[in-house]
């Protein structure tokens, strides 16, 4: 086997998991932070900054783009990436909702 049984879970549970999966690599965290830090968009400087090969960075960018967290627009020979605020805020909300539940249930039976 090896394939996740998504049909056993709710839409929201799968959404949270997918979102978490997108953030489940330090390179992707670093990429997002770099895009956030430099107020203007970033191109291929990520390759210099992160120390990973160009195809590797490109693949991580592809994944982030696939779930909609970032957008890329071609500017001459380089590509400019930026956060998609709409999706970003959706994700932010989903995570906040998930962790908010903890406050209501301060169980400490073990």
């Amino acid at each position: 086997m090896g394939a996740t049984k998504t049909d056993l879970f709710t839409k929201k549970q799968n959404e949270i998991a997918m979102m978490a999966k997108a953030l489940a690599h330090p390179a992707r965290i670093a990429i997002l932070q770099e895009i956030l830090k430099t107020n203007s968009c970033i191109c291929g400087s990520l390759v210099n900054d992160l120390g990973l090969a160009q195809p590797t960075i490109s693949q991580h960018l592809k994944e982030l783009k696939a779930i909609g967290l970032i957008r890329g627009t071609i500017e001459g020979t380089s590509v400019c990436y930026c956060i998609n605020p709409k999706v970003w805020n959706q994700y932010k909300q989903l995570f906040a909702d998930f962790f908010k539940e903890s406050i209501k249930n301060e169980n400490n039976c073990c």
Copy 2:
């Protein structure tokens, strides 16, 4: 290759990624939500509720325990699981910090 190059990234970036990885499966989201919902701790009812085999659930519980998100105490023949509030709140804070950055940088260049 195939192994994540954690040495290229900051401690915090690796922490966020590890935390996200722990949440990157709908079964683990469902397990955590179930533990949160039933105010008292849960034992093996997760197997009945989730529709996955017992070894599979056990493995997911092991992963959640490995990163400290949950604790398990033996109660007779069954095992009682509960959230570790300390770690839970740490994670909550880390995520909140990560997503907070978005507000400061409302970039929309592309």
